[in-house]
Amino acid sequence: MATEVQVPVLSAKDFASDQDVRWCPGCGDYAILNQVRRVLAAAGATREKTVFVSGIGCSSRFPYYMSTYGFHSIHGRAPAIATGIKLANPDLNVWIVTGDGDGLSIGGNHLLHTLRRNVNVKILLFNNRIYGLTKGQYSPTSEEGKKTKSSPFGTIELPVTPLSIALAAEASFVARAVDVDKNLGDVLQAAAEHKGSAFVEIYQDCNIFNHLAYQYATDKAAKEDHILYLEHGKPLVFGKNRDKGIRFDGAHKPQVVELGKGIKEDDLIFHDEADENLAFLLSRLSYPQFPEPLGVFYRVRDDCYEDLLEGQIKSAVAARGQGGLAELFESSDNYKV
């Protein structure tokens, strides 16, 4: 008779390390940390097979607060370290925690290439639109004209849109969430289940250096008019009374419309997670002209890098036999003396 193996089920608390969490009180990172622990527990993850890798910045302290394996590396390089971990052991569940400075400025290159290779890692980019750890300089996602310690006269550069970059880099999973929003858990869960690089931008409040940067998306009274929850196969509807939507106008440009008065849900754009053009269009919608979409923008199945590499090894071994030391030294160029 088969005996039942009891797999210990971990709770969110089991993923907490013994370290005191040292982010500033009120920092958005706390909410994200709690959700990540909860999602890991719900997904049945184990501590020993989970690795958190980070770079440098406030968000990059994340691994210390997890009871899993962790690597707090150097500025911007977490995707490269994580790639190496997956090359060495494809069985590990590897999560990268990065920020707008770490991931889009100093480490931008690694982000692009990890995404296009589709290494099976989950990338959480905490976007607080400011440099927090270095105490308040503008970041690559700070709005144009923003006055900060390093831009007393206002910045004179355009910010980047992380999701547009991820899509252009051929990411196979692209999503957005807000630190305190209810859909963060769902997005993280979807990312955890995705096979391949999953890129999640999380709007995160730095309540010390850029407090309320996302007030429009978090304010209880007003947010429903400023954000739009994406659902695959459903029309783009938003608003407190779900009475607004987005459709294409005559010039095929997105347009906010009010439902009723002859405009039906069927006239709106329907979300399709497999449509990369739509995903890009959605990534360009920004407040205040448009509500900002949250949820999964894009999700396609694709082979991951480390599996393809293992596959090449398997077929080479099948074709040529497993190489050992003797085979290494044997070659057609050898000669006997």
């Binding site: 690795v51 394996y69 994580a82 971990i85 060495a88 290159n109 030294f329």
Partner: protein, 647 residues
């Protein structure tokens, strides 16, 4: 040409006669599209297989396609082949094959007076002469001086090759591509070499691999035509023969430094039961290591062509953290980009192999030329007090042993190990007797599994911390670039702890000295002068020291492979000698270390021309020291056959 006894018995015809010589240096030179590297490689393979000792020096232009026919576009390949043991590709060229005017211009100065110069006369037309920068109306072949100084053979190789392939049905362009084989055939005749190795190669490469049997046939035909031309046209009054060298019996192959490095890494992975993951970004002259390893999937080798140098080392660090053999390879500019990540590997105390195939610097410098100017970068060039182990290979085949030794040290001490090779070792080749796989000792690796006794920074007797790998239940831990508390590995800003950890990291690297052989001198035991070399200059320095020692000069040599830590007896040894000379292909980086560490008055012979030492350079420098004519200068430089102080 080295003179020797004349023999008549090897060739049935009485003309030309064959002269027996102990060694010769041949250089093929032509446009980078002329296939000189292939001709040179084939000459080397043939010579190795018939039992000569060989040493080679390829010389590529920095640009892939510098304008055809110009001096910057000239590609050369030099082979020294001998019936005795040799360590260098040779100083003076005994026979130059110049495929166009630019090649003659670029290489003639290196030919010994009275040496052989074979020129491809067909290419000495107005256009090519102009491209090579000769003044209008000047053709060097018309200068009687050339024929007086050298044994000049004008052979219209392009035309003869085209005629021999006239009925091949190939285009004029494709026929032209065979002229390197025509030239090779001619030189095979001159040096009495068999054609079969090259014929086999051409049939395998063009026929089987590239599936172009007609190209294979044409190349074979050109090769034979060149050989027969030498035989029937009787242009050479003498042929030369170099007998086989007395070498230990065994199975041999010709090996370049880059291939030896790659093979050593694979061997180390097998010996330690680890997966080799080679993470790199293409850079000259290190890329051939990647090319070799990328084709070795059936040996379980994983290669990762990263997006940049930093990603390359960081992914290798990730590999090590996850418990496999992480290796990154690069050249000087790439090593500079990797410095921050090397510090991460040092503070996280992970095993890691970093290979630096040195080239001329600073900045982009001389990408295709050799130099030893990354020593200080390797030993000290990082932020913070950041010691790691540095090894330097001494010959192409020694790259194999160095790679294995590096992995052994990295795993035993949990420390990054940096291997220095250089462009000369990387591309140069020598015969290598294959080791018996059973003779290579296993590389032990242990990973802890017991949560009760585990601490991330608890140390063993070698100060090594345990290598706990993700996937092991109960050993979950966090590491990173912030200072660690000894033992627990928790983040620590405690001043006393930082001092302790900094000294521990240093002590650990220094402990490796217990594991390496003591420094040994060669040649004169009680000599007046000690010549200290390191890395790729081993062959030429040893040749010079032994030659002068044999002449009765009071000179000894010492070669260093372990650059950090250095052998524990080095200081005592150095102090035994009245004079110390440190020849290096840089401005004096080892000298700087020796002077500061051991307080000795070491002088430097420093060549910074992107080229290896000639034995002549070293003989000159050593003699100046022994004859008391060196003067006060801390360093002198070989310049146009003289040794001078820079002014």
């Amino acid at each position: 040409m080295v003179s020797g006894t004349q023999t008549q018995d090897r060739t049935p015809s009485t003309h030309p006669r064959t002269e027996e010589i102990p060694a010769a240096v041949v250089r093929f030179a032509g446009d980078s599209g002329d296939g000189m590297q292939m001709a040179g490689t084939q000459f080397t393979d043939t010579s190795a297989i018939i039992g000569n000792d060989v040493a080679t020096l390829p010389d590529y232009p920095a640009e892939i396609r510098a304008p055809a026919g110009t001096v910057p576009g000239v590609s050369g390949f030099q082979i020294n082949f001998a019936s005795t043991d040799i360590h260098t590709p040779g100083d003076e060229v005994n026979a130059l094959i110049a495929m166009n005017p630019a090649a003659l211009k670029a290489h003639l100065a290196d030919v010994q007076l009275g040496g052989i110069v074979v020129v491809n006369e067909s290419e000495f037309d107005k256009v090519n002469l102009r491209k090579a920068g000769y003044p209008e109306g000047v053709n060097p072949l018309d200068d009687p001086e050339l024929g007086r100084k050298y044994r000049l053979y004008k052979v219209p190789i392009t035309r003869l090759n085209a005629e021999s392939l006239a009925d091949s049905g190939m285009s004029a362009k494709d026929i032209g591509r065979c002229k390197n084989m025509y030239a090779l055939g001619l030189i095979y005749f001159l040096f009495d070499r068999p054609l079969d190795t090259t014929i086999q190669y051409l049939e395998d490469y063009f026929g089987k691999k590239k599936k172009m049997p007609e190209v294979a046939a044409a190349n074979v035909k050109a090769l034979k035509a060149g050989f027969y031309f030498g035989e029937t046209a009787e242009i050479f009054p003498v042929r030369y023969h170099v007998a086989r060298a007395p070498v230990a019996p065994g199975t041999y192959r010709k090996i370049t430094g880059n291939d030896a490095t790659a093979m050593g890494l694979i061997a180390a992975a097998k010996l330690s039961g680890k997966t080799l993951v080679y993470c790199t970004y293409p850079i000259t002259p290190a890329s051939d290591i990647l090319h070799y390893l990328a084709g070795m999937r059936n040996f379980g080798v994983k290669t990762f062509q990263a997006e940049d140098e930093i990603a390359a080392i960081c992914s290798a660090i990730g590999v090590s953290f996850a418990g496999q053999l992480g290796v990154t390879g690069t050249s000087g500019p790439g090593l500079a980009l990797k410095t921050e990540a090397m510090g991460l590997a040092v503070i996280t105390e992970l095993p890691l192999i970093i290979i630096d195939v040195q080239r001329g610097g600073p900045s982009t410098g001389l990408p295709t030329k050799t130099e030893q100017s990354d020593l200080l970068q390797a030993v000290v060039g990082r932020n913070g007090d950041c010691p790691l182990v540095v090894l330097a290979a001494k010959s192409p085949s020694d790259c194999f042993d160095t790679a294995i030794e590096a992995v052994r040290i990295a795993f035993k001490y949990m420390v990054p190990v940096l291997i220095l090779t250089d462009g000369y070792l990387a591309n140069g080749a020598e015969p290598w007797r294959l080791p018996d796989p059973k003779s290579l000792p296993a590389i032990p690796v242990t990973h802890p599994t017991d949560p009760a006794t585990y601490q991330p920074y608890k140390r063993d007797e070698n100060y090594a911390r345990p290598w706990a790998i993700p996937g092991t239940p109960g050993l979950e831990h966090r590491i990173g670039g912030l200072e660690k508390a000894d033992g627990t590995g928790g983040v620590s800003y405690d001043p006393e702890n930082h001092q302790k950890m900094t000294l521990l990291r240093l002590a650990k690297v220094n402990k490796v000295a217990d594991d390496i052989p003591p420094a040994e001198t060669y040649a004169g035991a009680d000599a007046e002068l000690l010549v200290v070399s390191w890395g790729g200059t081993y062959g030429s320095v040893r040749t010079a020291v032994e030659r002068l020692h044999a002449e009765g000069k009071s000179v000894a040599g010492l070669h260093l492979r372990h650059m950090n830590p250095m052998p524990t007896n080095l200081g005592t040894l150095l102090k035994k000698y009245k004079k110390i000379l440190v020849p290096e292909l840089n401005t004096g980086q080892l000298r700087y270390i020796l002077r500061s560490r051991y307080l000795v008055d070491a002088r430097g012979l420093n060549k910074i021309q992107g080229k290896p030492f000639l034995v002549e350079d070293l003989v000159g420098g050593i003699n100046l020291m022994l004859d008391g004519k060196w003067g006060e200068a801390e360093s002198l430089n070989p310049t146009q056959h003289q040794i001078k102080a820079f002014k």
